[in-house]
């Protein structure tokens, strides 16, 4: 049995990648195993935990529920792509460090993707709006509190920088 494949072109973190992939390859396995971008994590493989969240054309999606071929012609941003220039931390990433909005780090890429998408649409969210925005991402370490603190800190720092 020959595995059916298809040639796809996906822009990941600004770089175009052309690959021949099995049609059943999930997007998260494409990112992790093919492109070796291991910042995106796999938690449940059935679309609940949110650990595999990436941005697809700017919107958060579950990369475990998408096939790589579905990303053909689209732009994907992973946690590695959230960094500022030269791999420096973004304000959001830096705020997660300042508020210690993580422990084991496993859900963190998904949390960053979800809160990055939130702040893009709503630069000054309330705590409740942050909780709603990350409610599709499960964390077992933090009880979410310091994650909420981190996102609010990032929002205030970003608005302060804009003023």
């Amino acid at each position: 049995m020959n595995e059916p494949t298809r040639r796809i072109t996906v822009t990941v973190n600004g770089t175009e990648h052309e690959r021949e992939v099995p049609v059943r390859l999930s997007l998260v396995d494409f990112l992790r195993e093919t492109l070796r971008l291991t910042g995106t994590h796999v938690g449940c493989e059935h679309g609940i935990c949110g650990a595999c969240s990436v941005l697809l054309d700017g919107d958060p999606v579950r990369s475990c529920l998408m096939f790589a071929v579905q990303a053909d012609g689209h732009a994907v941003t992973t946690v590695e792509g959230l960094c500022a220039a030269e791999g420096r931390m973004s304000v959001l990433q830096d705020s997660f460090c300042e508020a210690h909005g993580l422990q084991c780090g496993y859900c963190t890429p998904g949390m960053l993707v979800a809160s990055h998408a939130l702040l893009d649409k709503n630069p000054s969210p309330t705590a409740q709006q942050v909780r709603e925005a990350i409610s599709g991402n499960l964390c077992r370490c933090t009880g979410y509190q310091q994650i909420v603190d981190a996102v609010l800190l990032a929002a205030s720092r970003r608005s302060g920088a804009a003023n």
């Binding site: 994590h41 460090c97 084991c104 780090g105 705590a127 909780r131 964390c139 009880g143 509190q145």
Partner: protein, 805 residues
């Protein structure tokens, strides 16, 4: 967030400091076991039993072997003949346990066949082609049925399903029951849940044939892991090289992964290729062997009209599932705090560990203490309700007083320190308890179901695993040491080496902070690395809330040895006694003569290059190791089962305000305050984070999470669609109020905190729920207190009322 400066007067300990670990995680540069990719790596898929109890008649793997990419199909028959059974915590040698079942299966989900292929997808495709012919056998899933002599036996060779059963009596229990003015009894039930990390188990092994070394990368938190693997594989332990530098994506007790790792090790050696098993979530839930305690508590309490508890009796029946690892020992830890934070002079404790045809139990955060705390706090609330006494006042009357420490409890452990009344007062003040009472009354007047819970619970920490000899006389474990190696290199930079992996606890931050404190050097420049098991000093892994105490203490001990050497070098070169010297920021000068000085760089250079300038007899270089025995450890239990089990006792108060929607049974945790005393906090942000995370686990265990089984032994909650993990919308905002009663037993006064929040959370939530239910005459003493369970309780009187009408 924490204060910029240390509230304890330390330089770095207790002050707000960013962690060492966070930057790599927020930039996607963590390195978890699944991120390690080796050339030629093969992948494993599992064929699991659909039956909870069956005989394996035959296995036909012909089609699987012929499938694309398949390298090997391994059955239990082949594997079990070449390895030894896994370690068991109690004396039950006939309860054999292997990675793959042989002849019979004992739970639905048990691994039967392993398929190895070029890719994970090919392995899974081929696994579906394996045909196993089973003969279904009777099963036992109810633990009360399982302890009967005529029950179906999970391991017939063992003779019965009971793994451990003993009745401990400490103090004059029967006399106290006879004399007391009142007695109450009830049953509490702790449902089977677990901490369920977001990362599943991952194990990767590579056999280095040239050096005859097995290299292992695994997501584990397991004491004596390399030795257990080596013993089962019949290999010398010095042929196992476990790489502790992988990041572990959460554990909270459960990441034991011994059978997973054993399987890939055997396959890697057999096939001469690296082999990885990456568990998917379904596999993790049914066959990962990580379910938590599953207990029936029968509680009896004797007390007087003034609310003073005279004695209690606790019978705890724990369903450990089909096999035993360390799980029966989870009934042992509560011995260390068997009277809770209360002055109860007489206690009877009857732990019973029983096997059923269910997924095996493994260690879960708190190692059995949280369920026990839940049962104890339900007891205290029932006593108060019986007497019509305020529940807080009842606790105040029974709590051990600050001036009574160190306090010896009936089961032989001495609590190190505490100020329970002060923490309780602080928590109530932070919650504005009078306003909370008013809020509850207003809600009730408006017809809503509102309740307040207050729990006062202990977190035993830094343990020496004394439950091992207590539950197995053949086991004489009296130490549970941990260690640290510290080096100052020729260039003067400092490195700490630890011998275990981390799963989010921030051990690099811990060690660097401690080293910075002792050396008076900035922790941000101090490197902390995880050794592998062949170059590590002994460690017992971060179990039992122990690393702040044990690793922190070991790091401090090693640093002090180096500092002493620096002082000796300075004394020798400055021509004065060490006692006449002053150490400041790594530089050493003669007291009162700051010009007579040797700088850090000069001292380091002497140690590394100038042997002629060193004191006679001192070894060159600047390195020290320190292996620390658990404070108060070192003794075996007495004949009646008294033992000093844990050295340090953290304390937490939970104040919870809940309203329950009567139409849906949904509880809404509207206010949550934790008063917490774990002594000196080395990094407050880490402690607060773990406490909030513990509360979240508590919310899950109390209200949502359960590995339900059907009466036929089938797991009914095997995905995140039906095993409900609380999200940011279920976990409330949490206010933490700190208090510090330093431990007299530890280096800086620190106690453990890794189980904080979880140990008092379910108890506090249960107290709040029951307070909310009281006006409708309902009560609940089981977890999870699901929406359905609460709705049913609320509806019952309504339905009865409608029928009466």
């Amino acid at each position: 967030m924490a204060e910029k400066t240390s509230p304890y007067g330390f330089r770095y300990i207790g002050a707000k400091r960013r962690t060492k670990e966070d930057p790599r995680f927020v930039t996607g540069r963590g390195r978890y076991a699944a991120d390690v990719q080796l050339h030629g790596m093969l992948h494993v898929a599992i064929v699991a039993s659909p039956y909870p109890s069956a005989r394996i008649r035959s296995i036909d793997a012909q089609a699987a072997r012929a499938a694309p990419g398949v390298h090997y199909v391994l059955t239990g028959e082949e594997l079990c003949s070449q390895i030894d059974s896994l370690y068991i915590g109690v004396d039950a040698p006939k309860v054999k346990r292997y990675p793959l079942a042989r002849d019979v299966v004992r739970y639905a989900g048990e691994w039967v066949v392993a398929v190895v292929a070029e890719t994970r997808a090919q392995a899974e495709d081929a696994a579906e082609l394996v045909e196993v012919d089973y003969e279904s056998l009777p099963c036992v899933v109810d633990p009360e049925e399982a302890i009967r002599p005529d029950a179906v036996q999970v391991h017939p060779d063992h003779g019965g399903n009971v793994l451990f059963h003993r009745r401990f009596v400490w103090g004059e229990v029967d006399e106290a029951f006879a004399r007391a003015q009142h007695r109450l009894s009830f049953r509490a039930r702790w449902g089977r849940s677990a901490t369920v990390p977001i990362e599943t188990f991952v194990a990767l092994a590579q056999w280095d044939a040239g050096n005859e070394i097995m290299d292992v990368w695994a997501s584990i938190q397991m004491p004596k892991f390399p030795e257990q693997l080596a013993r089962a594989l019949r290999m010398p332990a010095n042929a196992m090289r476990v790489h502790f530098d992988v990041d572990v994506g959460g554990s909270y007790g459960v990441k034991r992964g011994i059978k997973h790792t054993l399987l890939v090790c055997w396959l890697a050696r057999r096939l001469g290729r690296p082999v990885r098993f990456l568990e998917d979530r379904l596999e993790n839930m049914r066959g990962g062997d990580m379910h938590g305690p599953d207990r029936i508590f029968d509680m009896q309490v004797a007390f007087d009209g003034d609310g003073i508890v005279r004695a209690w009796k606790i019978r705890a029946l724990d369903d450990v599932g089909a096999y035993a690892g360390r799980s029966p020992l989870q009934l042992g830890k509560p011995v260390s705090a068997i009277c809770g934070p209360y002055r109860i002079p007489a206690v009877e404790y009857e732990p019973i560990s029983v096997m059923t045809h269910k997924t095996p139990q493994e260690a879960v955060r708190g190692f059995g203490q949280s369920p026990t705390n839940f049962a104890m706090e339900c007891t205290m609330d029932r006593v108060a309700r019986f007497l019509g006494m305020d529940r807080v006042e009842l606790r105040r009357r029974n709590l051990i007083r600050h001036d009574e420490f160190p306090y010896r409890i009936p089961s032989g452990t001495t609590y190190d320190s505490g100020d329970y009344h002060a923490v309780l007062d602080k928590a109530l003040a932070a919650a504005d308890y009078p306003a909370l009472l008013e809020r509850r009354e207003a809600a009730r007047r408006a017809g809503r179901l509102a309740g307040i819970g207050v729990s006062t619970c202990l977190e035993p920490s830094g343990g020496n695993s004394s439950f091992e000899p207590l539950f197995n006389p053949k086991n004489e474990t009296t130490t549970w040491m941990d260690s640290c190696l510290v080096r100052v290199d020729l260039n003067g930079t400092i490195t700490g080496v630890m011998g275990t992996s981390s799963s989010g606890q921030g051990h690099q931050t811990l060690v660097s902070t401690v080293l910075g404190e002792i050396f008076e050097r900035d922790p941000s420049g101090i490197r902390v690395v995880h050794a592998d098991s062949l170059n590590a000093l002994p460690s017992n892994s971060p179990v039992g809330s122990r690393m702040a105490i044990m690793l922190g203490g070991a790091a401090a001990g090693a640093a002090r040895r180096i500092r002493d050497n620096l002082m000796a070098i300075a004394a020798h070169n400055l021509g004065v006694a060490a006692s006449d010297l002053e150490y400041r920021n790594g530089d050493i000068s003669v007291a009162g003569q700051p010009d007579r000085l040797l700088t850090w760089d000069q001292l380091v250079e002497i140690a590394h290059r100038k042997y002629h300038c060193m004191p006679p007899g001192m070894e060159p270089g600047l390195q020290a190791q320190f292996v620390w025995e658990v404070p108060t450890g070192g003794t075996l239990p007495t004949a009646d089962g008294q033992v000093q089990m844990y050295p340090c006792y953290s304390f937490e108060v939970h104040v919870v305000y809940v309203e329950i929607d009567p139409d849906t049974g949904k509880p809404d945790l509207q206010r949550y305050v934790v008063g917490h005393d774990c002594g000196v906090m080395i990094n407050p942000d880490i402690v607060h984070g773990m406490t909030c995370g513990g509360v979240a686990h508590g919310v899950g265990a109390a209200l949502y999470e359960k590995f339900s089984f059907s009466d036929e032994g089938q797991l009914l909650a095997g995905t995140f669609m039906d095993y409900l993990i609380p999200s940011s919308l279920e976990v409330p905002a949490i206010d933490i109020v700190d208090h510090c009663t330093p431990s007299p037993l530890t280096t800086f006064g620190q106690k453990g905190s890794g189980e904080a929040g979880y140990l008092g959370g379910p108890a506090g939530i249960a107290c709040a729920i029951n307070d909310a239910l009281a006006p409708v005459g309902a009560a609940i003493a089981q977890t999870p207190m699901s929406h359905l369970a609460l709705w049913s309780l609320i509806q019952a009187p309504r339905d009865a009322g409608q029928r009466a009408a």
